[in-house]
């Protein structure tokens, strides 16, 4: 793990639907594995913010940002030439040897999927968005089937799992979506989220229940096997039940 943050220049910021793709010069930084994350900090922020690596074009790091608060807005407002402090790669990425991987993304949860898709050779992907405007970001993920609210991404996933139960969902999205994915497949891998102050195990701020105990997500995750996060997952519901259950995932 790198423990030195590096000041890098912004190359460009691009609108991708409702999100912003922040493209930063790569400098000496290793892009790491898909699902790993970086802590990003810009002028005006005391704390850095965790961001998944979205794209890894040569010489570049790309981050897809949903501007939902002060930190993400500040990062999304950066312009070419601005500096951003980058620390990483941090945490654990998705498994790259999963059987028949299927990428599942909800809203800004698609952030790690473009890099993951490239790395895995463009496996099938299911993406859910809350509006057409948000769904523009699906262009970043090859081979993606897209659903829009009120359709939920777990509906096509349930169908897919009926057809090939051995497929492994690699999912990132809002908590209710992750929980619904877990109900469908206890062997799924979920990229979880939590507010993080440091990203490298120093602050104990990012704990979530893992294996039934509060553990630091930045060290244990952010990708975690579904069965470690949710007690009643997998076979608790048949795919068919899951599709119609009221608590099934929303495409946020």
């Amino acid at each position: 793990m790198s423990t030195r943050s590096v000041a890098l220049r912004v190359r460009a910021t691009e609108c991708v639907g409702m999100y912003t793709l922040l493209r930063v010069q790569r400098g000496p930084i290793d892009p790491g594995l898909p699902g790993q994350f970086f802590m990003l900090r810009a002028e005006g922020l005391l704390l850095p913010r965790p961001m998944s690596l979205c794209t890894a074009a040569a010489g570049e790091l790309g981050f897809l940002i949903d501007p939902i608060g002060t930190g993400t807005e500040t990062l999304a407002r950066l312009r070419r030439g601005d500096e951003v402090a980058v620390l990483g790669p941090l945490g654990h990425g998705f498994p790259l040897d999963a059987t028949r991987p299927v990428l599942v993304g909800g809203g800004i949860g698609i952030a790690p999927l473009p890099y993951l898709s490239e790395t895995l050779g463009r496996p099938p992907a299911l993406l859910g968005f809350r509006s057409d405007a948000h769904a523009v970001a699906a262009e970043l993920v090859p081979q993606a089937d897209v659903v829009i609210d009120p359709v939920r991404v777990t509906e096509p996933l349930a169908d897919l799992l009926v057809a090939s139960p051995e497929a492994t969902p690699l999912a990132c999205g809002p908590e209710p979506m992750l929980e619904a994915v877990a109900r469908l497949a206890s062997h799924a891998w979920l990229a979880h989220e939590a507010p993080m102050a440091c990203g490298y195990g120093a602050c104990y701020g990012c704990v979530v229940p893992i294996d039934g105990e509060l553990k630091r997500l930045c060290l244990e995750g952010p990708t975690v096997r579904a069965s470690r996060l949710y007690e009643h997952c997998g076979d608790a519901l048949s795919p068919a039940q899951a599709r119609t259950a009221p608590e099934a995932g929303v495409a946020a």
């Binding site: 030195r4 943050s5 704390l47 939590a194 507010p195 602050c203 701020g205």
Partner: protein
């Protein structure tokens, strides 16, 4: 020589040994008699001039600490202080007695001031006295800045046998979600650290340095060598880094270099000069003209040259 420590609770040496080794002293997160899961998440939030935390002293408890963690920390070869907390004087004494047997521990910090658990501030002196009876190791009393008269508590700790003061812990603060106006932390209020604490910690160090002869570890919002030098001038012998480590894990090295440069720029032979100057104790030697200050760019706490480890 001013030493650079981490502030308790702001670094896990086992997660990042190289960061722990960049410090002159590694201080553990507070250890309590029994294990504590800590508070429910959300536990951290950025405030506009600081950060809030409500970790709630999550720790494995003294027995697991000594059994599982201590040997691994010892293997890192760092100078080690252990921070101790408790909910009674006996609790503190119990931990101190256990730690007393471990030669690898240079000193014990008594956290009598965590704002996220019931604060036993009034009992500072009985806690120090009980800890004193339980160990011969140097004892640093870590005080809260939220006291009507911190010097009275500092003197009480001194009389009860403390060997030093750690100043300061966090203030109690609150941040509401900008959209919903609900408190962001699950506990609503939490401990405020970072820049907002800086002038408060500086005042506490200054006042306690005049009221007591104990060495002081100064902390609170230190981000640069200038901030560290101000604490030294106010009366700190050593300086601890907390919140800044979250944004800049390499802060210790940087602050050490900046601190030396800041002192040199003012013509101080040693940091004692800074102390004498701030306290008007003696006219310091004719000081070189103070040139332009360290210019911090957009990102004051970043390495200027991209470097990776």
């Amino acid at each position: 020589m001013t030493r650079i420590l981490n502030a308790s609770g702001c670094l896990d040496a086992l997660a990042v040994p190289e960061v722990a080794r960049s410090l002159d002293v590694f201080v553990t997160k507070t250890v309590t008699p029994l294990p504590r899961a800590g508070n429910d998440p959300v536990r951290i939030a950025e405030a506009d001039v600081g950060m809030l935390n409500s970790i709630g002293l999550a720790n494995p408890g003294i027995d697991a600490f000594v059994r599982d963690h201590l040997p691994r920390i010892e293997a890192l070869g760092v100078v080690l202080w252990v921070s101790v907390g408790g909910f009674s004087a006996e609790g503190f004494a119990h931990c101190c007695a256990i730690l007393d047997a471990h030669a690898s521990i240079e000193a014990i910090e008594l956290n009598v001031s965590c704002p996220n658990v019931t604060a036993p501030a009034d009992e500072a002196s009985s806690i120090v006295a009980a800890a004193r009876a339980a160990t011969s190791k140097p004892l640093y009393a870590k005080l809260s800045p939220a006291l009507p008269d911190i010097t009275a508590v500092a003197r009480a700790a001194e009389h009860a046998g403390a060997d030093g003061l750690s100043l300061t812990n966090t203030l109690r603060g609150l941040v509401l979600d900008r959209g919903t106006l609900e408190p962001i932390l699950a506990t609503a209020t939490g401990g405020l650290s970072g820049p907002a604490l800086r002038p408060v910690a500086l005042a506490a160090v200054y006042a306690c340095a005049q009221a007591s002869d104990l060495p002081i570890v100064g902390m609170g919002g230190v981000e640069t060598g200038e901030h560290a030098l101000a604490l030294v001038a106010a009366g700190a012998s050593d300086v601890a880094l907390g919140t800044v480590l979250f944004a800049d894990p390499a802060a210790a090295e940087r602050v050490r270099v900046e601190l030396d440069a800041s002192a040199r720029r003012r013509g101080f032979a040693s940091t004692d000069d800074a102390f004498r100057r701030a306290h008007g104790l003696a006219s310091p030697r004719p000081n070189a003209p103070v040139g332009p200050q360290e210019e911090h760019g957009l990102l004051p706490i970043m390495a200027t040259e991209p470097v990776s480890l």
